[in-house]
């Protein structure tokens, strides 16, 4: 796990666990606000995909894991593909320049990190049970007992869609957040 983030050209120290936890809370608070706001825009009909892209962006900028950027090293242990092309306009605007690393060792996980990665995924997998059961209940009610859901101001499909969006968002972010939340304070090098 990395001890600092580079955002808008500035280095942000994330060695302290309290800071990492604040980041995790902040990210999920933004997701909650985003989901609520998008519901009022068009009941997620066409804006639901923004949740997915927001989760990708959170991984890319802050969390890592599924991308080479962010605090958590890539779960696959592979570095970014080397390219001779110029950095994207978005990267330039955000002043996020890809690190020039000659080999993939900076991205590889050692045995301890691999164990932590597997455990974080295992815990995240267990936590998903809540959402899977919620989806099952909605599926059952929606198909077999639709009258029971008549008093709720959402159709079963909208509820179902919301649960699926939340699940996908968590699938992409929860293991990294578990790692960031649990990792103790890092000591500064030197």
């Amino acid at each position: 796990m990395r001890a600092e983030l580079v955002l808008m050209g500035r280095r942000v120290d994330m060695a302290q666990r309290a800071r990492r936890r604040a980041l995790v809370v902040g990210i999920y608070a933004v997701f909650a606000v985003l989901m609520t706001g998008l519901w009022f825009v068009d009941q997620w009909r066409s804006t639901g995909t923004y949740i997915y892209w927001a989760a990708m962006l959170a991984c890319w900028l802050f969390l890592g894991g599924y991308y080479c950027g962010g605090l958590v090293k890539p779960f696959t242990g592979k570095g970014p593909r080397q390219s001779d092309s110029a950095p994207s306009l978005l990267s330039l605007k955000l002043r996020m320049y890809p690190a020039q690393v000659d080999d993939d060792r900076a991205y590889q996980n050692d045995e301890r990190e691999l164990n932590q990665r597997d455990r974080a995924h295992y815990l995240a997998y267990q936590a998903m049970a809540v959402l899977v059961v919620a989806a099952w209940i909605v599926a059952y009610m929606g198909m077999v007992r639709p009258r029971w859901m008549a008093s709720i101001p959402m159709t079963p499909y909208q509820m179902f869609y919301g649960i699926t969006l939340v699940t996908l968002m968590l699938i992409f972010t929860l293991p990294q957040c578990i790692l960031l939340w649990n990792e103790p304070d890092m000591e500064a090098e030197g």
């Binding site: 009941q43 997620w44 009909r45 066409s46 639901g48 995909t49 164990n115 990665r117 597997d118 455990r119 995924h121 295992y122 815990l123 995240a124 997998y125 267990q126 998903m128 049970a129 899977v132 059961v133 989806a135 099952w136 599926a139 059952y140 929606g142 198909m143 077999v144 159709t155 499909y157 909208q158 179902f160 869609y161 699926t164 969006l165 699940t167 996908l168 699938i171 992409f172 293991p175």
Partner: protein
């Protein structure tokens, strides 16, 4: 992990990995048939009961989680090696789970966007039921995948003399 089980009075050896893989394929084929039947036959309460009963039976048969009398021991106990293998299976299952959610998400997105659904009534019924069917399938996959990954990946077991 058990190396055999008894089915209708016959002892079936599953010490070899290839046999365990056949078993996993059969379990998922059974689940697939049930979910398709559940969606196709107007989801009467009899089918709900059958689906749920078979799900419980096959889950108990696979073991793992809190079931101690299945092919796999309960997930609570075990030594350090078993725990790491369980975590590893959780990691692999997690990667498959996100792929499994996408079809369900797309099916619901199509359903809640009426302009994407053709006017054909038969297609309407299909689009109405597909999200639920896929979600039931995802739930089954969620519950059974780590156990099946362990059964699938564990090498051949030498039987105790």
């Amino acid at each position: 992990m058990r190396t055999d089980f008894i089915l209708l009075g016959t002892r079936i050896n599953i010490a070899s990995r290839s046999r365990r893989r056949w078993l996993v394929a059969l379990v998922y084929a059974a689940f697939a048939v049930l979910v398709i039947a559940w969606c196709a036959f107007n989801v009467q309460s009899t089918w709900n009961f059958i689906l749920f009963a078979v799900f419980i039976l096959l889950s108990r048969f696979l073991g793992g989680r809190s079931y101690d009398d299945g092919l796999l021991p309960a997930f609570e106990g075990g030594d350090e090696r078993e725990r790491y293998r369980r975590y590893r299976a959780g990691y692999i299952a997690y990667e498959w789970l996100d792929l499994a959610f996408f079809p369900a998400l797309i099916a619901i997105a199509v359903k809640i966007n009426p302009r994407l659904v053709p006017a054909n009534p038969a297609f309407h019924i299909f689009v109405d039921r597909l999200p639920y069917g896929l979600m039931i399938a995802v739930g089954i996959l969620y519950y059974t995948l780590p156990q099946c990954i362990l059964l699938w990946t564990e090498p051949d077991i030498e039987e105790a003399q």
